[in-house]
Amino acid sequence: MEKVTIVPEVAGTEPVVGTSLWRDAYKRLKKNRLAVLGFMVVCIIVLASAVGPWIIQQTTGYTYDYIPTDPALVTSQPPFTAPDGSFAWTHPMGTDDAGRDILARVLLGGRISLMVGVISTLVSLIIGIAVGATAGYLGGRVDEAIMRFVDVLYSIPYMMVVIVLLAFFGGRSPISQLFLLFIALGAVSWLTMARIVRGQVMSLKSQEFILAARATGVPAARIILRHLVPNTLGPVIVYATLTIPSVMLLESFLSFLGLGVQAPLASWGSLSADGIQNIAVFPWQLICPGLTMAVTLFSLNFLGDGLRDALDPQMRKG
């Protein structure tokens, strides 16, 4: 009989049967302080965006689009300042020209910016994985055709495409504009994802476990979904976490140009656009949304870098 490999039993560290590679990666990620910090900041911002506007409404009565009825309040106040100039907790980020609470607007903007980042990345993920895995697995002429098509799309300035899309179809209502934004941003950012997935699939395809799966009669669709795609997820997740901030930046750029999110909805980009008009007089109108956004993007990038180190295939134990 073959001997069972027995891990020497140290007190309390019983070998767990069924430790996946994900758990190993998680352990490595936990060691990276910057990534953990980034992860925590992202969590806080997500949480604040989710429940923050509701809490503000409960405590101060302000919502993102609430304009005070008292004409004396329709003016931009600095952070932590009451109308009479004394210290107050009411508006930690001050108010804008119309007297709206900037914190409430930044948190709502966070909702939208994060949503744009996540949903557009998901859209690009789905298209990218589907296209890349198909091209990589089938190979030959199909691969050639698909990838040349991707090359052609690459050569079109994507910003033009988005602007044309938004200008052409947009503007019916703020919500439909938002959906258009998701799709437009997803549609331009799947190209690199498709290339990454294709490359991964091509190198995995020649591995014996894929041959073994084919030799046991597993259908092609199932091989792609169950055997190939999960194995490409490491690099894909890394790329996705780095796509989220870049898409968010793109969104804020579009909103800044006035093509993205329409009033009364707000995103960090549109808030910055509003703020920059008064930068000399009311700097907090730009600094508050801008800083929040910068911190979030930094954190997401740190997290992405950390994930890359944790999921790096070269560091993976055989």
């Binding site: 073959e2 799966a213 055989g318």
Partner: protein, 347 residues
């Protein structure tokens, strides 16, 4: 009774830039039910491609099966629709691969991979399949199978993974098992265990086995018949004991001489066949082995040798096959080495 598998004049070629590599060029053999066939040859001799052709898994392009018939249980696999072929793979013909370290999906639990086969082919429910997976792991001798079945491949050693592969291959009780160098990547003690396991399981299930290897010691103890392949062709086919006693092809004789003999105390350097295997895209006109053959004469370099029948089951591809067969003494194996010794070694 008709053979379970009958390969006739199989040619599988690979298109290279300007040339065609004839990886398999006119291979024919039969395999009866319950029989074990060994296919021996150097790297690139076409033994793996032959079996990938049987499974219809030759990467295409660049590979293509140019001609031939592969009749499995009365039906030509080469003309079967892809969907029907898929139902034969894993269900009726199963395969074990060379490197157990890479032949399991690192992201799937072993149980999931074992269950996939039986759910696909036997229509098992999730719980039936899981139970079957545990049972199969027990059959292949994995201790504590119920606990280990849900582990990931990286938690298994090389020998254990090969056992898992065998369990997976046998879970649908296939009629034919193709083992493509199943022990090459394992160390020697594990090799013996795995061979013993395949042998026992074969006896229990009555499965026919094709055993591909480049190690004559591996096939000696467990096969009924052996095919020796060189440059895409069968150069000799004979029942195992006869092949070891009366090798009738210079290439076979050379292979036998290059098996190390642990009882030899002479300290003479181990024999090796001079030269390298030929490039199958640029074969010489005559016998492909001629440039490396000690017995070669002018005729060998000019004419392709005939496939001579020497006994009912013994064929050799050589101009001098009869002469070699009659002499019977081209000192095949080193002195004192007989198949029974090999048998003993593999027990």
């Amino acid at each position: 009774m008709a053979p379970l598998l009958s390969v006739r004049d199989l040619r599988t070629w690979f298109d290279e830039e300007h040339l065609t590599a004839k990886a398999v060029d006119g291979v024919s053999f039969d395999l009866g039910r319950g029989e074990t066939l060994g296919i021996v040859g150097e790297s690139g001799s076409g033994k793996s491609v032959t079996n990938l052709s049987i499974m219809r898994l030759v990467p295409s392009p660049p590979g293509r099966v140019v001609s031939g018939e592969i009749v499995f249980d009365g039906r030509d696999l080469l003309t079967l629709p892809a969907e029907e072929m898929r139902h034969i793979r894993g269900r009726r013909i199963a395969m074990i691969f060379q490197d157990p370290m890479t032949s399991l999906n690192p992201f799937m639990r072993v149980s999931q991979q074992l269950m996939e086969v039986t759910r696909l082919h036997l229509g098992h429910s999730r719980s039936e399949a899981h139970e079957h997976a545990v049972h199969m792991l027990e059959t292949v001798g994995i201790p504590d199978a119920r606990r280990r079945v849900d582990g990931y491949p990286h938690e298994f050693s090389g020998g254990m993974r090969q056992r898992v592969m065998i369990a997976m291959a046998l879970s649908c009780k296939p009629e034919l098992l193709i083992a493509d160098e199943p022990t090459t990547a394992l160390d020697v003690t594990i090799q013996a265990q795995i061979l013993e396991l395949i042998k026992t399981l074969k006896q229990d299930t009555g499965t026919s086995v094709i055993m591909i290897t480049h190690d004559l010691g591996v096939v000696a103890g467990m096969t009924d018949r052996i095919l020796v392949m060189y440059a895409g062709r069968i150069v000799e086919s004979a029942p195992t004991s006869e092949l070891f006693e009366r090798p009738s092809n210079p290439y076979t004789a050379g292979l036998l001489r290059s098996v190390p003999d642990p009882t030899d105390d002479s300290h003479a350097p181990l024999y090796q066949i001079p030269g390298l295997p030929p490039d199958v895209a640029r074969l010489p006109p005559g016998c492909p082995f001629a440039p490396r053959c000690a017995r070669a004469e002018t005729i060998c370099r000019e004419q392709f040798p005939p496939f001579v029948q020497l006994a009912p089951q013994h064929h050799s591809l050589c101009h001098f096959a009869v002469e070699l067969y009659e002499s019977g003494t081209i000192a095949a194996a080193p002195a004192g080495r007989t198949p029974s010794d090999d048998d003993a070694e593999n027990q």
